[in-house]
C-alpha cells in the first residue's frame, strides 16, 4: 500500500494539459454542485425563510410531504432499544432504496458535507507533498460500526451522536455550530497530518454503513480503456479509497470498480490523461476486442518497477 504514495508530483497537470481544465475537473465540479446545492436547499429555510426542506440530513421533511431518515441513525436507535414511528421507518426505507439503486457510498462523495473538509485536507497533502504517515486498517470503520451499535445498546443512547463529525457539521451549519468546529478541525488535521484519507477511507462508521448498502448500485466506475493505462499512478493518488482501483485496472476480470468502498466520486475519470476510466453501469462489462488484445501486451511490457506494488 505504501508504494501508492510514492508519487512525487502534484497529480492532474497532465490531464489539464491534455483535456483542458474543465474536463479534468468535470466530476469534481458536479460533486461540489451536488454537495453545496443540497446544503443550500437545507439552508434556504433557516437563512431566507424558504422552507423546501425542514430538518437535517439525519431526518428531514421535504415540502411537508416526503420523509427521509438516515439509516445509520435508525440503526443506532434500534440498538438503543427504540422502535421509531412509521414516519421515520418509511423515511429510512426510501433512503435505503435510493442508495441501493445509486450505490451507497454516493452519499459520501455527493451528499456528505464532511467530504469537502476531507477533500481539502487531501488536496493540501498532495499540493505540499506531505509524506504519508501510518493510517489504520480500512476495516477499522466496520469494527467501529459494530462497537458503536454495542455502545448504543449498552448505554441506551445514540452513542455515535456524542461526537459524530458529519451530523455535528451539517446540523451546526443549520442550527448553530457550538464547539463542533473543534471536532471538524480535528478531522481535518487528522487527514492532513496523520493519515492520508484517514477519516472517510478508514474511520467513518457512517460511511461504513453506506458501504454496506453499496452492493447493488447501478452506476459504476469502469476502467474501460485500461489497456491505455500508462502507470502514472495519479488515479491512486486522488482516489479516496485507492485499494478499490487495482482489481479493475490491473486485473484480468471485469474492468468495473466493484468494491463496496468505491464512493463513485469520479475523480479517477477526471485525473486520467489517458481517459482510462468512465462512468458506466454495473451491466456494462463489454470491452472491445482491440483493447483486449493490447491489454496483454501492456501487461507484459508493464511488468517493471513502474507498476504499483501492493
Amino acid at each position: 500500500m505504501s508504494t501508492l504514495t510514492t508519487l512525487t508530483r502534484v497529480p492532474g497537470r497532465e490531464a489539464i494539459a491534455r483535456k483542458g481544465w474543465l474536463r479534468a475537473h468535470k466530476w469534481l465540479l458536479l460533486r461540489r454542485v451536488s454537495q453545496l446545492g443540497l446544503l443550500l436547499v437545507f439552508a434556504l429555510g433557516p437563512w431566507l425563510g424558504i422552507w423546501i426542506v425542514k430538518g437535517t440530513l439525519t431526518s428531514s421533511l421535504t415540502l411537508d410531504k416526503l420523509p427521509l431518515t438516515d439509516p445509520f441513525f435508525l440503526l443506532q436507535a434500534f440498538a438503543a432499544g427504540h422502535l421509531p414511528y412509521r414516519e421515520a421507518l418509511i423515511g429510512g426505507a426510501i433512503v435505503v432504496a435510493f442508495y441501493l439503486l445509486v450505490g451507497g457510498r454516493v452519499y459520501c462523495a455527493w451528499v456528505c458535507p464532511m467530504n469537502i473538509v476531507t477533500d481539502a485536507a487531501a488536496w493540501l497533502r498532495r499540493r505540499f507533498k506531505l509524506q504519508s504517515a501510518r493510517a489504520p486498517s480500512p476495516a477499522l470503520r466496520y469494527w467501529l460500526l459494530g462497537a458503536i451499535l454495542a455502545a448504543s445498546f449498552a448505554s441506551g443512547t445514540l452513542a455515535w451522536e456524542w461526537i459524530n463529525p458529519v451530523s455535528l457539521l451539517h446540523r451546526g451549519l443549520l442550527f448553530g455550530l457550538g464547539a463542533a468546529w473543534a471536532i471538524v478541525l480535528g478531522v481535518f488535521l487528522y487527514d492532513l497530518l496523520v493519515a492520508t484519507k484517514g477519516w472517510c477511507g478508514h474511520l467513518c462508521p457512517m460511511g461504513a454503513t453506506y458501504s454496506l448498502l453499496n452492493v447493488t448500485g447501478l452506476p459504476k466506475v469502469s476502467a474501460l480503456r485500461r489497456a491505455a493505462c500508462d502507470d502514472c499512478l495519479e488515479c491512486y493518488a486522488v482516489c479516496p479509497e485507492p485499494q478499490v482501483i487495482r482489481p479493475a485496472l490491473k486485473g484480468d476480470a471485469s474492468p468495473i470498480v466493484s468494491s463496496i468502498n468505491c464512493t463513485h466520486c469520479g475523480r479517477c475519470i477526471d485525473i486520467c490523461a489517458q481517459d482510462v476510466f468512465q462512468m458506466t453501469t454495473r451491466f456494462h462489462h463489454r470491452r472491445d476486442g482491440h483493447e483486449q488484445g493490447t491489454d496483454h501486451i501492456v501487461d507484459r511490457l508493464g511488468g517493471g518497477s513502474a507498476r504499483p506494488v501492493h
Binding site: G45, W51, K54, G55, T56, T58, S59, S60, L61, P67, T69, D70, F73, L74, A77, A80, G81, H82, L83, P84, Y85, E87, A88, G91, P136, S137, A139, L140, W143, L144, G146, A147, I148, A150, A151, S152, A154, S155, G156, T157, L158, A159, W160, E161, W162, I163, S167, L168, R171, G172, L174, F175, G176, L177, G178, A179, A180, A182, I183
Partner: protein, 260 residues
C-alpha cells in the same frame, strides 16, 4: 528475492504466512481500537445522559434515558415551534448534542393547543400520545428559594401565580400569618404537581435577579413515598369509615415527673 538455498515454494509459503499474520494483527488491533472507542462512548453516554437543571425537554418527551435512545437529532420539532422556544443543543451546551430543549428562564413554552413540536417528531422521542397540552409534564416548577421569594417576605409580588397558564390549578396562593410583623398575611405560592406542565412561565417571569421558582426535571423535583405507606385519612375516606376497630388502641398517658 528468495534465498538460493531455499526452495522458492518454502519462501513463498513463509511470506504468505507472514502476510496472513500481519493481516490478522492489523484486524485485531482495529477491532481492539474500535472496542476502546465504543467503550469510551458508552461510558461517556452514561455520565452525560442527565439533563442539566437549566434545560427542559419539549412536551411529550420520553423519560430522559429513553429519549436519548429515540431522538435522532433532526431538529424537526425546533422548526415546528412557532415561538422559537425550542433550540437544538450545540456541542458544548451541556445538553446531549443535537437534542431539543429550552431554557425557561430565557424563553418559556407557550403551550400551543395543537402541540406542533410533538406532531413533527418522526421517531416518537416526543410521544404522539400527548394530545392535551395541559397533560404535558416537561418538568415541575419548584419554589426553590423561600428566603428571597418576595411573597415569602410578606410582599404581594404574585407574578409567578399571575402568569401561570393554569392559574389556581398549577399554582395557588396559600394564606399564612406573617409572624415577623405579627399583623399581616403572607400569600405563599404553592405548585401542584397534578397540574403543573413545566412550561416555565413562572420561572421566566420571576422578578428576582435569579428566579426563586425554577422548573426542574420531575424526578429531581418530586419525592416518592414508600410504596408500602398508607395515609390513614385517605384510607378512611376510601372506606367511608375509620378502619381502626374501636377501643383497640390505648395510648399511655404521660405526665410530667415520670408518673403515669
Amino acid at each position: 528475492m528468495s534465498d538460493p538455498g531455499t526452495l522458492p515454494s518454502d519462501a513463498d509459503a513463509q511470506r504468505q504466512a507472514n502476510a496472513a499474520r500481519r493481516r490478522f494483527l492489523v484486524q485485531v488491533s482495529a477491532a481492539g481500537g474500535a472496542a476502546l472507542i465504543g467503550l469510551g462512548l458508552g461510558v461517556h453516554a452514561r455520565q452525560a445522559a442527565a439533563l442539566p437543571a437549566f434545560a427542559v425537554r419539549p412536551p411529550g418527551a420520553l423519560h430522559e434515558a429513553e429519549f436519548l435512545g429515540a431522538c435522532v437529532r433532526c431538529g424537526l420539532c425546533v422548526r415546528a415551534c412557532p415561538y422559537d422556544t425550542l433550540k437544538l443543543s450545540a456541542l458544548g451546551d451541556g445538553v446531549a448534542p443535537g437534542t431539543p430543549y429550552f431554557e425557561p428562564r430565557k424563553v418559556a413554552c407557550e403551550m400551543c393547543p395543537d402541540i406542533p413540536c410533538v406532531k413533527a417528531c418522526p421517531t416518537g422521542a416526543l410521544d404522539h400520545a400527548l394530545e392535551d397540552i395541559a397533560a404535558a409534564r416537561m418538568g415541575l416548577a419548584v419554589l426553590i428559594d423561600h428566603e428571597t421569594c418576595l411573597n415569602y417576605n410578606g410582599l404581594r409580588c404574585d407574578v409567578c401565580y399571575r402568569v401561570c397558564p393554569l392559574i389556581d390549578k398549577a399554582i395557588t396562593l396559600d394564606m399564612q400569618r406573617n409572624a415577623r410583623t405579627g399583623m399581616h398575611a403572607m400569600f405563599l405560592p404553592v405548585v401542584h404537581s397534578d397540574a403543573c406542565t413545566g412550561c416555565g412561565k413562572c420561572e421566566r417571569a420571576c422578578v428576582l435577579e435569579s428566579a426563586a421558582i425554577k422548573v426542574l426535571p420531575i424526578e429531581q423535583a418530586k419525592g416518592e413515598l414508600g410504596h408500602h405507606y398508607r395515609l390513614g385519612w385517605e384510607e378512611k375516606a376510601r372506606a367511608g369509615r375509620s378502619l381502626l376497630p374501636q377501643d383497640v388502641l390505648e395510648l399511655p398517658v404521660r405526665r410530667p415527673g415520670g408518673g403515669s
